[in-house]
Every structure is written in structure tokens, then in C-alpha cells.
Symmetry: C2
Subunit: 404 residues, 2 copies
């Protein structure tokens, strides 16, 4: 039996404890004797929980117990998660986490500390919740030259966009519904402004390059300006709007960004709706590969943390290697990315803007669904070219079009 501790008894932490209890038989197939949660670290007491007697408030009580081999860090946020993770790793205790903010912020450093102390820092649950992404990427695709990673990695915004489309509803109204249902936070900014998605693609881009791609260097755009009118016009042409995060090979670097995109029905990403997440890898040999599942939630996310805890327990006393150095890798300049654009403008401005884009106009999508506005889509051009040609113009909407 391997002894473990849980740091943070919130949604995911309590999911981890529940899974280790209910699926103890499954876990014991890999970890002889199973994985036992000996301590739960939290500032709160949980007198009504069946696990309440495991709660302690002093991290040293855990770190000084030589039986503890694995910790699950499900506190979230940078501090004290960073300090606590570092302390555990320095004691040779492996740490498994769902904390994407900390992984993006200090992943390279914490991996280095784990390496030095013959233990592991694992974070499958930090990207894509319950979907196994990181382990397959590192262990099943190492022989591939991955030319792009395209993800729907935020369940809250995917739920909002799906509801807006299906109910012809405004962003603000659907957001309120989502908050009532618990699918959106009271402060939804990290989700709807694409910070959460941006952190996740920064982590995947770092794992792809083996260097540190920083969230602060990325172009990110949220979904707050998407309207049901845009969804209706897109729908008439066989597209849905999805908040995509993208890492694509530009030859001399990776373009890494997050923004809403029109996704056509010929893409497997089109069918990823509601709170589901998916990541589409494109490799030079394997071609398209998509992994799809629940990107959030107590039990799915807890399941991915437990998978890592099992791996850490099986490899207790050694380091499970993940290549990610502290050397900063700047993304390729966003202006150089080539995209096609969906544009909605006032009818009065349409002719002038079309002529500014000159040969770039591809199709006119103006229809009754567009109401008072003109809608058109451009051909492929760089972000810089698009920005220069539309500088100063009153664009009511710009959405990129996803092309494989």
C-alpha cells in the first residue's frame, strides 16, 4: 500500500478522495495494496464528511511523515500551492495536480525540482480535465512531428456558445443561466476572456517545444462579443463558433493563440458541444488525432489526477521524465499568422471595407439573418495584412475561420 495526502479538499480534491475510495479495486490492479489517503490538508474542518478525521492544518505533519509518497495538489491558484508543492518535491514526494495556473507559471521549475529529488510532478488534469492528453502526447506521439494542436479546452465557454446557438440567446443571458447551473464561476472572466484556455495551450505548447511558452506572450480573445446573429449566419453556411486555442508550426516557430473561430461541419471539432472538450493533434505521420471528453467536473478531473497518482506510486523513488525547460520560447509573431476572416459591418460601410480588402473578399454571406448588417468572409491573409487593410474601420465583428 502506498500512502498519499490531498492538499485542498475542494471540488476536485474531494473527487480524488471519492474515486480512491469507490474504485479502490481498480487502483489496486496497478498499485499493490492500493493508494490510501492518510491526510487531507485544508484550512477548513469537514465534520460532516466521512473523511473528516483525515483533515490536518499543518503541512509539516504531512511532509514529516516518511510514509507519504504521493500528494495530490488540488488547492488551485499560485500560492500557497507553489510553496507547498516545492516543499513536497524537495522531500522526494511526488505531486500530482489539476492546477493549470501553477503549472503554466512554474511548471519548468517544479519539474526540475522533481527530477533532482527522484520524484515526479504530473499534471494530466491541468489540461482537458478527464481527457488523457499529456500522457498520450508524451508517450504515444513522441515519434511524430506535431504540426498543429487545436483545442476546445474550456467547457464553460463551449457550453455558453452551444446554448446561444441552440436557443438564439444573447451571451449575457446564457452566462447568467450557466452561473445558476454552476457551469460558470461567479467571476467568469478567466473563462469568457480565454485566459483559462490560453493557459492550457501555453502548457501544451511548452510540452511540444520542451521550452517555456508563457501565457503572457500569447494573443487571446474571449467570446463576450459573439452574438446570436453571428451564430445564425455561420449556421446557414455549415459553421459553428468555437473558442479554439491553437499552436501551429510556422516553420521557424510556433504560433500560439486563443480566439473564437468558425468551425465547419467537416471538422471533428464541430461535433464537440456543451461542456465537452477536445484536442485535435495533427502529426506528419499519424495525420489527425482527436481526444474528446469531459474537460471539467469533480469526478472526470479527479479521475485524471488519480491516474497520475497511480503512475507516481508505480514509479515511487524515481522520476517520470517530462521535457520542459525554463528557457523561454517566444511564440511566432501573431501578425504573421495566416487566417481567413468572417466580418460583419454596417451595410453603409460594406462597400468601402470590401474595397479596402480588395482581392481578399471571398464570399458574401449577407442574408436576412444578418439583419441590418453586411457579412462577408475573406480569403487567406496574414493577421498583419488584415489589420492594416481594416485599420480605423468600424468592424462590428471579426471571427477567424478554422481551416485544417
Amino acid at each position: 500500500m502506498v500512502q498519499a495526502a490531498v492538499f485542498g479538499f475542494g471540488t476536485v480534491g474531494s473527487g480524488v478522495v471519492e474515486i480512491l475510495d469507490k474504485n479502490a479495486g481498480q487502483v489496486a490492479r496497478r498499485v499493490p495494496g492500493g493508494l490510501n489517503v492518510k491526510y487531507i490538508l485544508d484550512i477548513r474542518e469537514f465534520p460532516d464528511s466521512p473523511y473528516g478525521e483525515k483533515v490536518v492544518h499543518d503541512i509539516d505533519q504531512i511532509l514529516n511523515d516518511p510514509e507519504i509518497k504521493v500528494v495530490c495538489e488540488t488547492m488551485g491558484g499560485k500560492e500557497p500551492a507553489y510553496t507547498f508543492t516545492k516543499k513536497a518535491l524537495e522531500k522526494g514526494i511526488s505531486v500530482c495536480t489539476s492546477n493549470k495556473e501553477l503549472v503554466e507559471y512554474k511548471g519548468a521549475e517544479l519539474l526540475g525540482i522533481a527530477r533532482e529529488h527522484n520524484c515526479s510532478y504530473l499534471f494530466e488534469a491541468a489540461v482537458g480535465g478527464g481527457i488523457p492528453l499529456i500522457m498520450p502526447m508524451l508517450n504515444c506521439l513522441e515519434q511524430e512531428k506535431i504540426t498543429s494542436i487545436t483545442g476546445i479546452l474550456n467547457g464553460t465557454t463551449n457550453y455558453i456558445l452551444t446554448r446561444m446557438e441552440q436557443e438564439n440567446a444573447e451571451f449575457g443571458d446564457v452566462l447568467r443561466q450557466a452561473q445558476e447551473l454552476g457551469y460558470a464561476e461567479r467571476n467568469p472572466q478567466a473563462d469568457v476572456e480565454a485566459h483559462d484556455t490560453g493557459r492550457k495551450i501555453a502548457i501544451l505548447a511548452s510540452l511540444l517545444t520542451g521550452k517555456s511558452v508563457r501565457f503572457d506572450d500569447l494573443h487571446v480573445e474571449g467570446i463576450t462579443k459573439i452574438t446570436p446573429l453571428d451564430l445564425a449566419v455561420a449556421g446557414q453556411h455549415g459553421f459553428r463558433v468555437k473558442l479554439l486555442c491553437v499552436c501551429k508550426d510556422m516553420g521557424d516557430g510556433q504560433a500560439v493563440y486563443a480566439a473564437p473561430h468558425l468551425v465547419g461541419s467537416d471538422s471533428p471539432l464541430y461535433a464537440v458541444n456543451d461542456v465537452f472538450n477536445a484536442v485535435l493533434f495533427h502529426g506528419n505521420m499519424v495525420d489527425d488525432l482527436m481526444l474528446y471528453g469531459r474537460g471539467a467536473g469533480k469526478l472526470p478531473t479527479g479521475s485524471a489526477v488519480v491516474a497520475d497518482m497511480v503512475t507516481a506510486a508505480v514509479h515511487a523513488g524515481e522520476n517520470v521524465p517530462i521535457r520542459w525547460s525554463g528557457e523561454v520560447e517566444k511564440p511566432a509573431p501573431f501578425e504573421e499568422c495566416v487566417n481567413e476572416f468572417y466580418l460583419r459591418v454596417d451595410k453603409a460601410d460594406a462597400d468601402r471595407i470590401k474595397s479596402a480588402l480588395a482581392d481578399g473578399i471571398c464570399e458574401d454571406w449577407t442574408s436576412d439573418a444578418a439583419g441590418e448588417d453586411a457579412v462577408f468572409v475573406t480569403g487567406a491573409m496574414t493577421e498583419g495584412e488584415f489589420a492594416a487593410k481594416t485599420a480605423g474601420e468600424p468592424l462590428k465583428q471579426v471571427i477567424r475561420i478554422y481551416r485544417k
Copy 2:
């Protein structure tokens, strides 16, 4: 550098050699110095191939070279692949294969030999081609109680069904097209009669149970009787027809079978078209998880073989454990499976058959698209109950309906 050999320089084998050459830099990230193909075993000569000088005809020349640590077996079929694999494993050489027929037939025994000789028998490419399925199932889902596995695991039949639907074409005509394009074999029986799919679900069911689920014990039905009329009627109700293979937990065992099913647009399997494959796992904690990609082809399948070769090289001298014993696990009796059914009958027989099914009728789907026939779908009942109620009746078509 790790030295390897390739047994069988056909489609997949030549893909493996090409990947190891073109993506040598990627492979060397995990295998210091890379993986070098020292020998290619084939009965033919390949004077025009850049790898022609590596070809040998005597397996002993390879097995007696102490440098060889990894073999890729891409010969296909039972013999001589079985004998050659056994000989290599007995020498402590790991074998990685795409040969589903041999894996289904002798997987448990060959895994045992690998275990005894501190080497590995790996077969990621045998199920789902380029899609990493087996490694994620064994290493990322070990903490789950997997309650069902539902797969589209044959690209040929998925291509045929997609074309039949899109072109309103007959099975025979589309099969001929597929043969001309190289998507179907000249003898298509293994694909269209669902033997290929059946072998693949037998392998996944064996890995799930840890025992040997035999293809010969499974109920399998192919797609030869599906008509464009069925696809049109299903389409009107939001369904497509897919050849699914199924392994589902019945409480006291696993039901394991392969048959065409109507799949609704609310399932992620609905969007799996053309030659693509996918597997949908349902776990008690992680809920739905789908892995999607190319299930066949020289480079995608080769990529999965190379991933295994990398794993075997990293773990040279030790066994990568896969739990699969020789103890035979009989599937749960097919008669006890609960399904809903799509039925097409002559209009003259409709009333009598409906009354035989009594309360089981759920919806009438008869429409102009059904032509001279009556179409209806039943509610849920066991296979045994359905068979008893329709015994002796002239049913023109029966297709099961996939429900999550």
C-alpha cells in the same frame, strides 16, 4: 543507438522504415542515438528500394545478432508470424506489431513468453491503426471501472457506409469503388462481414477483463445487407448507420459483439465518417471519452508501431506489463443483451409483426423514403425476446439502435 529489425516489408512495414528515417530526430528525443533498422526480413527482394540492402531472408541471421533489441512484426496472418514472434521473444527481443489476427489468436501466450524473457510484446497498431488506444486504456484509465467500449474500428466499412449515405448508392457499387481506390481488399469478406472489427473488440475486451475473450465466441454481423433506403429513412430521423463493435458490462460479465447500428446525432460517434475510426469509452468516473483518428494506412498505422518500438527500446531488458491471461472469458449470452431495433418489413406484413411485438413498438418511421416497405422502431427488449417475437417472420431489415 538501439538496433531493430522489421519482419515483413509490406504496406505497414515500409511505413515503419520510412517513419524511423524521416522522423529520426523525433525518435531520438526518447531513444538516445535513435532507432536503426539493421535488417528487413522478407521473402522478396526490393532492388529499387533505398532500404533494399537491408533485406535478408533468413530469420536466424537477425535472431543471432546480439545487437537486435526490437523487432517490428508487420507480416500479418497467423503463420509464420506466430513462430517468428515466439522465436524473437524467446531471445529476449521485444516485438511490436500491427497484426490483429495474431494478437487475437495468441496474445495471452506471447505476452507470457515476453514476461518470462524480460522483453515486451506490444500491439498498439493492431486496434485503431494510428490512434493511441491500448496505451491510454492501460495507463490512463486503470483507475476507472469501464462500463462500455463502443468502437468504429474498420475504416473500409465506415467509408462504404459514408459513401452509400452521401451518394444514395448500393452497397455493391460502393464496394467496387472502394476496391478501385484501394480502400477495400480484393477479398473484402474480413471487413464487410465484421470479422476484422470483431477481432479488434475481442482484443479490447481481453485487455479490459485481463482474460481471453475469443473472436469465435462473439456475435458478429456485417454490413452487406444495408441498403441506401435504410440510410435515407435513418437520416430523416437524425441517425446514421455505423458498424459498431461493443463491449458492455452486463453486471455478471461483458456482452461483446459487432453489428451495424443506428447512431444518433447526439453521439460523438455520429461525426466519425469516411475511413476514420474512433473508440468511445465510458468510465464510471471519467464518463465519456472518445479517441478518434486514422484506423488504417501505411503511415498512421506505422506511427503506432514506431511508438511501441520507442517504448520497447526505452524499456530494453525489461517487460512492459500488459495484463491478459490465457484463461478464457466467455462473453455474456447475446440473447440477454438489451437493445432497441429498427425494422423494415413488407407493408402487407406490418400489422401482424407489430402485433407480435405488442407493446414493444415505439415509433412508426414509414414514409415515402421507405418506398413499398413499412419501417418502425421498437422499444428496449432483450435480443432473445426480439428473436422469439419475430421468429419465422419475413423481416427485410433489422438494425440495432445505439443508445449511450
